[in-house]
Symmetry: C2
Subunit: 362 residues, 2 copies
């Protein structure tokens, strides 16, 4: 069996979890769900699937030290800090180069750093199936999450015919990738039973993704070839990235490649999955009281339901007579926002960016 | 002219300003309005009316050191800590004893510690009139505040005939004191023009209040006589209060005396007055933005009106899409409460009192 690698995408900034999340302490470095940072949970979930020394993390320069502090078991040489964000196509290309240099006859998985997945065994079984499927052919394999609500925040994958033997009954050809739908469309997708959420989890042979990138994103692949050449001449990776990365096209792997390739398969996930995209999502994962209030840390809620209160350390937060409010408390900042306006939090952070006095809060 | 004294009543606890106010840091020791503690503003306002060395403060034992720290110009010997709260009749009686020992042929004013009064000159003119009126007869003189809204949180004073010469055209006989009215009654009072708010400001000759207390609260006055005897024997005041104070009847001076006495006059206040009874009241005194938001300290309010945000130190509070909300931030606690539920804050504090883990927040 060829070697297996995993490359975790940890480039996000998580403005939507302000004030807990900051530029240097983004969502995946916080224990938004559970007791350890989301990234560490993602690393731990790979145990038994991929040897620990074969786990890469692609993050950004500002967060690289934070990643190593949060997950000290990671090999520092395999935690890569992008000098600038260039979306997922560039990151996947960089991943392909890094893995290829270690072992060109390998397969690797791409995983977001910050999803909440409780069923670790189910996750391992699905990813094992994805590896086996990828290794025994020339397919790009995605993991499809069976939707349980008409979410408009994710891309969808329409499944086609079942693929291969009856042993892998959860593997399908992919008819098409579709962008985030509007609500009526998402409702149709849900009802049809033919659509999965695109969780950004991919598994492929290193030579297969290499070929696909060369075909569908030739310029990007050529530029990354220069990074590879430099590495083979033992040039410094950081300097190489500084030189070539900013010029790469900023485009997602879905748009640049997955939507265009005709050799895509999807494995239906045998595990729960939630990208926990904003504060209201945590109510799906942590204990609620009888009135649907979530209280993380110390506090008291008098007359009120559906609130989400998150405190750092020993801080105490009291709510009186409010419903469906998000109240998040850190040492230097407090946020108060209705759950229905959670999508405004990132706009608040953008507004704060215009005020030099608030730099320490970003 | 006989000597003038002032006795400031600083016994309240101010639960309604939690989390800023605490047992040892009550409302009158906080700069709720302005830059200095409310008590210090009250002391400063007396300049020119009463010699500084003739200013007493009656507070409670827990707050006594806090009073001396907040207002270092006070004479420590004149800052009295009640061992237990016994309402205003007992405090007025104690004040009469303390002043009488200094100078039996004097007059003194009783003033609450924590009202907001911006027109200092107007205040001094009114109190000077009250002193003159009290000193030239045998009347109990109150200050009446002309109401500007049908408040239901104050007692009212119904004025009678004008009293005395045309020089003191703002002095009236008092027809009656009335307890806090319901709203329709308060509206009638407001419309009639015959009613004042009872601000708890009184001025009287020491011998006149002494006689009135002896007539209307004979038991209380007898018990306080023992404190006076002890002082004359140079016994320790704290020990005397510890011995006799807990046994005193707990009753307000309005109920025990003012409502019964027939020698009461009222001077119409020539100054603004606000007892700032709860968080929403601060909006009447500090700058609002164009949407009626009050922001004390650092913060940002996106899409929202009528909010009150109070931060300690450099803390930053962001509100998104909420209206008429009180958000108060201290180092160890945060409160979120609609303005319409501000009266619930003291119930929250009571509920917290039942939890030993929260003692440090009281």
């Amino acid at each position: 069996m060829s070697q297996r690698f995993a490359v975790i995408m940890a480039g996000g900034r998580g403005e939507r979890f302000w004030p807990q999340s900051r530029l240097k302490r983004p969502k995946h470095l916080l224990p938004i769900i559970g007791n350890t940072p989301m990234l560490c949970q993602t690393v731990d979930r790979l145990a038994g699937l991929v040897p620990p020394e074969n786990v890469f993390v692609i993050t950004n320069r500002e967060q690289r030290l934070g990643v190593l502090e949060a997950c000290p078991n990671l090999d520092p040489a395999k935690v890569i800090g992008e000098p600038v964000g260039r979306d997922t196509a560039a990151a996947v290309g960089l991943a392909a180069i890094l893995v290829k240099i270690k072992d060109a006859n390998s397969a690797f998985a791409i995983l977001p750093a910050d999803a909440a997945i409780h069923d670790t065994e189910g996750f391992r079984a699905t990813i094992a199936t994805a590896f086996e499927t990828a290794e025994t052919g020339e397919h790009l394999v995605t993991v499809g999450i069976k939707p349980n609500n008409p979410a408009t925040g994710y891309g969808y994958i329409q499944k086609g015919e079942p693929f291969g033997s009856s042993e892998n009954e959860d593997v399908y050809k992919v008819s098409r990738f579709v962008e985030k739908p509007d609500l009526p469309t998402a409702e149709k997708y849900l009802e049809s039973g033919d659509y999965f959420w695109n969780a950004g989890i991919f598994v492929w042979r290193t030579d297969v993704i290499k070929k696909a990138l060369a075909v569908h994103t030739p310029e990007l692949w050529r530029a990354l070839g220069k990074v590879e050449d430099g590495i083979s001449k033992e040039e410094n990776l950081d300097s190489l990235l500084q030189k070539y990365y900013p010029k790469l096209e900023k485009i997602s792997i879905d748009y640049a490649l997955m939507e265009k390739a005709d050799n895509v398969l999807t494995v239906q996930a045998g595990f729960d999955w939630d990208d926990v995209g904003e504060w209201p999502a945590i109510a799906r994962h942590v204990a609620n009281d009888s009135k649907g209030n979530v209280l993380s840390g110390r506090g008291m809620i008098r007359e009120g339901s559906g609130n989400i209160v998150v405190n750092e350390k020993d801080h105490f937060t009291a709510l009186i007579g409010v419903d469906d409010l998000i109240v998040v408390q850190t040492e230097d900042a407090t946020l108060v926002c209705p759950k229905s306006k959670a999508q405004e939090i990132k706009n608040l952070v953008k507004e704060m960016e215009n005020n030099p006095d608030l730099e320490h809060l970003l």
